[in-house]
Structure formats: C-alpha cells, structure tokens
C-alpha cells in the first residue's frame, strides 16, 4: 500500500482518496453531522491545495488543520481548546438490531469520556493514526497520548463490559 510520504509533493488528490474514510470520520466527529463535515473537509482541503505542497507526513498536518478549522467555526473557544468530539461517526442506521444497540451503547460510553481521552481514542481507532502521529498532530508528548489512550480504554472497558463479553 502506498504511504503518504511516498506521494509526489503535490498529490493532495491521491492523499484524499487514500485517507478519505479517516478524514470523514474525524470531520463528522468534529461537526456532528455529514453535511457540515463535507463543508469542513472541502474548505480545509481546497485551502491546503492552494497554499502548499503535501508535507512529508501529511496526515497529522491535515487532521490538525481540520481540528483548527472546527475550533474556528465555534467562535469563543481558545485556539488550543479541545474541540467537541461527538461519536456520531458511528453508523446506527444499520438493519441489524443487535449492531444498532451496540452502536448506541458505544456512542453513549464514548460520550461519557473526557473530551481529550475521547479524541485520542477516536483518532487511534477510527482515523487509523499511530500514537506518534497523534502526538505530532496535538503537539503533545508521546507518553501523554499513550497514557490518555490507556485511561480512556480502561474507562470504556468498565462502561462496555457486557458488549465486550458478547463480542468475545
């Protein structure tokens, strides 16, 4: 599989095609719905294309741009404030009742976590980012990110005991 760093310097389109699912999930989490996520993604990607070539490791950079743009949309927040991450990127409209229930339970459990823990879990599990990329994106030490993730998972484990038992 082609890595982002293997792209030509100007290949934003190829980057988008490869990373569209991760970008979409994060954008939906940031905005709360698909239509706003689409607008946010379009705004950020078009600005990036006009402004610069793809950086060496583009994903943390683009995710950070998305995050900052979402914060800018919510006026009144400090620039370094954690954005609101809503676990609405999970699809609860499936036909399978059991899956729908699980999704609703997981959404509720994720919503119960502190913002920063939820963000790291979403970035790691649903945006396919490594801990190093998340640390670069959030400009925080790697240890902080991994411990935040571990604490978040630990809390989720308590909240989702039954779901995990069923799954295993």
């Amino acid at each position: 599989m082609q890595r982002v760093s293997d792209y030509d310097n100007n290949d934003w389109a190829a980057f988008f095609v490869e990373q569209r699912h991760a970008l979409t999930r994060y954008a939906i989490a940031l905005t709360g719905n698909v239509a706003d996520a689409h607008d946010l993604l379009q705004d950020v990607m078009v600005r990036l294309v006009r402004r610069a070539n793809t950086p060496r490791d583009a994903k943390p950079y683009v995710m950070r741009c998305l995050r900052n743009a979402a914060i800018d949309l919510r006026r009144g927040r400090a620039a370094d404030a954690a954005p609101k991450i809503a676990p609405v990127f999970l699809d609860e409209s499936g036909a399978d009742l059991r899956i729908r229930e699980t999704v609703a339970t997981v959404q509720a459990a994720l919503a119960a976590l502190p913002d920063r823990q939820r963000e790291v879990i979403v970035l790691k599990l649903y945006c396919e980012m490594t801990f190093e990329q998340i640390a670069r994106m959030l400009a925080e030490p790697l240890g902080t990110i991994t411990s935040r993730y571990a604490r978040g998972l630990s809390e989720l484990r308590g909240l989702l005991k039954d779901e995990v038992r069923h799954a295993s």
């Binding site: 699809d91 038992r165 295993s168």
Partner: protein, 127 residues
C-alpha cells in the same frame, strides 16, 4: 477482559461515510483548486525549474555577448573615423589681420601661424 478485544470490538462497528456523490464532489473541488492554484505553488519538479533557469541564463548570456560585440565594433569604427578627420594640418594656415601694426605697413596682411608657440613669461631684469 483483554484490551485487544475491546479495541477490535470498537473498530468493527460500522461508521458513516460522506457517500459517493459527496466524495466525488470533494475530489473534483481538490482537482479544480489545484489547477487554479498559482504556478509557483504547484510543486514544479526540480529538474524543470533547473532547465528553465539554464535556458534563461543562456539567453541572457547570448544577448549580453551580442551587445558587447556590437559596442566594440561601433567603437572601432568611431575611433578610425576620428583618426581620419584628425590629421595634422599640412597646408599653411593664414590669418588675415586687418589692424596695421605700423603706419608703413599695408592695411592688412597675411601671416602663417603654424609655428607659433606660446610666449615665455617675461620677468623684470635684476630680479
């Protein structure tokens, strides 16, 4: 309960997507933005930039060289022309003097001034 179980359970849940139409629209917007971006921001490959610079340098050198050659030739022509017109005077140069120095002389006469030199300074005797 293993963390891997929890992680794999979370990862296995269905997620929402933009849909094909929205994704295509986004891709089109990215490509349009790229084609309308300023050329110096499009990431011109290094070899193309180097080739363009080399061509510009060659053209500049050729133009400067042509200008210098033209200047030298014109300068030589001008120098030879000046040499031609600045020949020493060979024929007697006569001056017509109207005021008679002495009453006995004619009212006017001609004198050759080719060999006239500058007058030595006159100093009073005994100094």
């Amino acid at each position: 309960m293993q963390a891997e179980n929890l992680e794999s359970m979370l990862e296995s849940l269905p997620t929402r997507s933009l849909g094909r139409d929205r994704e295509r629209e986004l891709l089109r917007a990215i490509l349009d933005a790229r084609s309308s971006a300023a050329w110096w921001r499009r990431g011109v490959p290094l070899w193309q930039t180097a080739a363009a610079c080399l061509i510009a340098a060659c053209l500049s050198a050729a133009l400067v060289r042509g200008f210098v050659v033209r200047s030298v030739v014109e300068g030589e022509k001008l120098a030879s022309h000046v040499a031609t017109i600045a020949q020493p005077v060979a024929a007697p140069l006569h001056v017509h003097v109207d005021a008679p120095l002495l009453r006995s002389h004619a009212a006017h006469y001609r004198t050759d001034i080719r060999h006239w030199g500058s007058l030595a300074s006159i100093t009073p005797k005994g100094d």
